[in-house]
Symmetry: C2
Subunit: 354 residues, 2 copies
């Protein structure tokens, strides 16, 4: 006997990257920031009164939302604080897409999107990227013709690390009939000025996803936020969000971390510098990849090598990278940019293996 709904019974869950307990493992598989979070986090932890935990936390994270609004030049009504980007993605689907309506994605894309669509019993409109991970010229027409209700676009793109030209994003926002969710989980690692925030003010159909997981070294905290027109934010904030979705401690830490832009920026600069070096070193070993605007590289393994085998061999040597057994990705590995020492050990290990 099963009580599961048909759509749930048919689906498989999201498979996250391995999280070994083992301290000696070099984790280059889940795109965590290799540097620690702001030193303000320690101060926050030291000043938490355990007795304060007996009360319910601020319901909507208003203080965090004010800080985020100020950072981006928006109003508090344009901001929703969520438990990681995951919660925002779920809320957008729950609030705006009826079961049976189409959700639009590129192929490939972030592997969580199809899972969330299945939970809501929504079919996908998948539009394959073309050579070099570009959007096809008729992307908007394909989405509009299919009457897609929500387009989920990770930009910079995962797993390729490529960034859309800002003009392309602006055109999508203006021409798509659907809501456009720009998943900017990796935006902090872009190496040149690039800002889509104005789209929130100009378009009533744009939601920008940000997370503290990567750029602020706080994947363990589960904190993200969404930016959008007040008309889009309001129903998520007041109706579909779990009441008290954010615990007190994570609110305090997130407020401090987002306020310390200097510390976060330092980690971005270090990641960007290491990313360049790592790609050069990998290319010297026969890997091929394009420069990335994220904190990971997607590289094609050298001729004669198998990506899955290489993944396993590295794992035996306590280095975790990500392998995707999906069309177009079978000959590639996704490698998070680690610290200088971690990247060096990856390269020297690969040199031994190859």
């Amino acid at each position: 006997m099963t009580f599961e709904r048909d759509n749930i019974r048919r689906m498989s869950g999201y498979v996250s990257g391995e999280q070994p307990d083992d301290a000696r493992t070099i984790k280059l598989n889940t795109n965590e920031n290799p540097y620690p979070p702001s030193s303000a986090v320690r101060d926050v932890l030291a000043n938490i009164d355990p007795a304060a935990l007996r009360r319910y936390p601020p319901a909507t994270g208003a203080k965090f939302r004010e800080i985020a609004a100020r950072l981006h030049g928006l109003e508090i009504d344009n901001v929703i604080a969520t438990r990681g980007g995951d919660e925002l993605l779920r809320l957008v689907i729950t609030t705006f897409v009826d079961p049976g309506q189409l959700i639009g994605v590129t192929d490939p894309t972030y592997s969580l999107y199809p899972v969330l669509a299945q939970v809501q019993d929504c079919p996908l409109k998948r539009v394959p990227l073309i050579d070099g991970w570009h959007l096809p010229a008729d992307f908007t027409e394909q989405m509009n013709d299919a009457q897609v209700r929500l387009t989920l676009l990770v930009n910079p793109h995962a797993p390729s690390g490529q960034l859309l030209p800002i003009d392309t994003v602006r055109q999508l926002a203006g021409r798509l009939d659907s809501i456009l969710l720009l998943d900017e989980a990796y935006i902090d690692f872009v190496d040149h000025p690039y800002d889509t925030i104005a789209l929130v003010q100009d378009h009533e159909n744009v939601i920008i996803l940000r997370t503290l997981s990567k750029g602020y070294s706080l994947a363990g905290l589960r904190f993200g936020y969404g930016l959008g027109a007040a008309s889009l934010i309001e129903p998520m904030l007041t109706k579909t969000r779990d009441s008290y979705n954010l615990d007190l401690i994570s609110q305090l830490i997130a407020e401090a971390a987002l306020s310390d832009q200097a510390s976060a920026r330092q980690s971005w600069q270090k990641v960007i510098a290491e990313r360049g070096r790592l790609l050069l070193e990998l290319e010297a070993l026969g890997f091929a990849g394009k420069p990335s605007q994220t904190n990971f590289l997607l590289v094609t393994v050298p001729a004669g090598q198998y990506a899955e085998v290489l993944y396993s061999t590295l794992k035996k040597r306590h280095i975790l990278v990500r392998y995707f057994a999906s069309p177009g990705l079978e000959d590639k590995l996704r490698i998070s940019v680690g610290t200088h020492d971690e990247n060096t050990r990856l390269i020297s290990t690969l040199r031994e293996i190859l």
Copy 2:
């Protein structure tokens, strides 16, 4: 223009109790535990390495689930850890109830249930409680005849504080065609041995909700858990749950708090003792209520008084209680049991007002 789904546009969100910043306010409106959490919470906070936050947390809270399983004599597969009871309620609906299928509740009940049902676009089958907050004898038949898919039963009951006889709960589990979710948010305040855990082993349709918000003085942490047959837990754990739903810090604190049963029990005993005294004192002032098995009292205001006016007058004097403007509750106040001093101040303030 609105992008909201029809069911979301039509609904109103959950209204939680007021959370004033004001330190002098006596908060007897949201059923928080008046005593602080386990002293182990302070130790956990002191030992958190901020650098550990840069990594994703344990995905399913396995260590907490082991502790909970051991506490209740179950297996880890019978346990899901969630962000408060709220997340469990949402997951149960998402996983087991199709839009359009019926969710069964008593009337009155916890005011969040209708909100969650509306988010999933599920109509409610409401069965009114009869005199003294009893279930009608044909409760099961009414639910089965209506083909209810999920019955949400808060026990001890909110807002009345009444506890169902254990035999009644056992009969419901055996006879209901639906899933039976027993919301035991207040179970820790029952003043005699009472244990429904065996139902999880005997019935494949029972899910028990527990929370650390009340019994463990951790409403600010957002941590709860569900107990049920592995066949019920598994799809929530692997498919419908947000990946990484629990942050690292709250997992560590919840593990420590649930392990410290002695400290929690002390707070339960103090609340139970104060609850008895508070009811006697309120009765002496002309209020009427039944003994409660929760950490709150539902009392009818004295003849000639209006509950809403009394609520407002108390609020002006910096004492918050809960007033519900709904049928059958308009002449009542729900008052959380505070500390000895808080309860004494409530009584002396009421004496001045009345």
